[in-house]
Chain length 271, copies 2
């Protein structure tokens, strides 16, 4: 047996945005190679089907880990298992490694001499572009809009919007989510925050007539499109959500969005 | 039965980067809902497992379509089937809808009154970031490096590099691929082209000592990291490949890349 074969391994596995989006590869690894499975659900959540359903499919118990376990305690619970020669899996909804926490834990595992294997899952960013027909070549820097903390509103999303708009690039916003605290920002909240930042900076980057898209990805994906004012009415109910502020649309993008009827204050379901 | 249920549907399905990366959702749709399946393999290719293997898994025949079918003939073959009330599937490796062609065909289908359903697949862009630990928040505009056409070399990749570097963002390059013509650009080719463009513009954006990462994603993913000069030696053999020119690395990114030993002219396999 080569040293590679004997390497105790940490698998960092993305499950996709809902249970059916899991890949055959992830399923196979969960079934055949994971001796202990830990699920992190505070940075993302499934739109449909949960950890209990996954437990039934793979016939194994899955242990929940909290933000405290992974961040404050640096994923020590995973490292402890690896040190006891247990092939250990960390699973999360969507795609892992987008979170700095996962990268830090992977680094720790490698530094202690363990092998790692990242298993990609469907990412909300990529899927949101696919559903709206926006070109990835025209995507600018990605940012997150968060609720004010200690009454301080992050101005960063506005700066990102400016930079992207100058370059004619679309801006995709991930929205504040903290499953442990039951916080799920909606596109209506995000639009309100962008309007507040516009009020503060007055650079005319964003107003009530700006064209925006809101998306909830699920087996029945819902896309709302129209003026920011429309999104303020909270037409998109389900969470988690993504907000896109497109720059000037390229002709194929514009035609596609028009064909879906999303140009003028409307929501559609793609199922 | 509602009108929605009766809607004849065009499914545009991503298979992921190799056969095992297919999602349960894609498999289920291929098995249960696709009455006719067309595969487009000229914009992307599987790293492992092909259309024949997929045919065996789902127990259905899959028809190949060419660039001519989809681009010159505007996907007429798909529309023809939809008009005959046949639920039709277009499958492709990786994620679809990144290609303008797929978006155009989806638009045509919607305009003719058919329903569409995009089914996301694992994208090489997202997976390349996950494997290298680079943060998606620090990713700049994406671009493609192509071989010279009629002796003219596109200067666009250099302009994208400039824009991204000014903003401190990483540049990810997809590399020229044309399966029908057996063209697969390698990271060594791409680095050579960037050096040639540097020679032309002399803005000191890129030189033989620039840090770059090359990735081939597969069940055994290979990552090479080091100076551009190292990549010129063609250490990464398998195709398709992606080239990343990172901007200044963030501390977690730098630590992760160092832990993998990728900082100084080395290739590793993650399996």
């Amino acid at each position: 047996m080569s040293s590679k074969d004997r390497c105790v391994k940490l698998y960092i596995i993305g499950l996709g945005l809902y249970l059916k989006q899991i890949t055959l590869e992830a399923l196979e690894i969960l079934r055949d190679r994971c001796e202990k499975i830990f699920a992190e659900e505070y940075t993302s959540i499934s739109s449909r089907g949960g950890i209990e359903d996954l437990e039934k499919i793979i016939g194994k118990k899955i242990i929940r880990v909290s933000r405290k376990d992974l961040e404050d305690l640096n994923g020590e619970i995973l490292l402890k298992n690896l040190r006891e020669n247990v092939n250990t899996c960390l699973i999360t909804w969507g795609d892992p490694m987008t979170a700095t926490t996962h990268v830090s834990i992977a680094k720790r595992a490698v530094e202690e001499g363990f092998c790692i294997r990242y298993v990609p899952g469907i990412s909300s960013i990529h899927a949101a572009l696919g559903f709206t027909g926006l070109m990835i070549y025209r995507l600018g820097k990605i940012s997150t809009i968060t609720f004010p903390k200690d009454n301080i509103l992050s101005e960063y999303p506005y700066h990102v919007l400016r930079e992207n708009m100058i370059r004619g690039l679309h801006t995709l916003y991930l929205l504040d989510i903290d499953v442990e605290k039951n916080i799920f920002m909606r596109t209506s909240d995000a639009v309100r925050i962008l309007l507040e930042l516009e009020e503060r900076f007055r650079e005319n980057l964003f107003n009530e007539k700006s064209f925006v898209l809101g998306i909830h990805i699920d087996e029945d994906t819902i896309i709302c499109g129209g003026e920011a004012k429309f999104m303020l009415k909270d037409p998109l109910k389900e969470v988690p959500q993504i907000l896109i502020v497109p720059s000037k649309l390229f002709v194929t993008e514009d035609e596609y969005i028009r064909s879906l009827g999303l140009k003028y204050d409307r929501c559609i379901t793609i199922s």
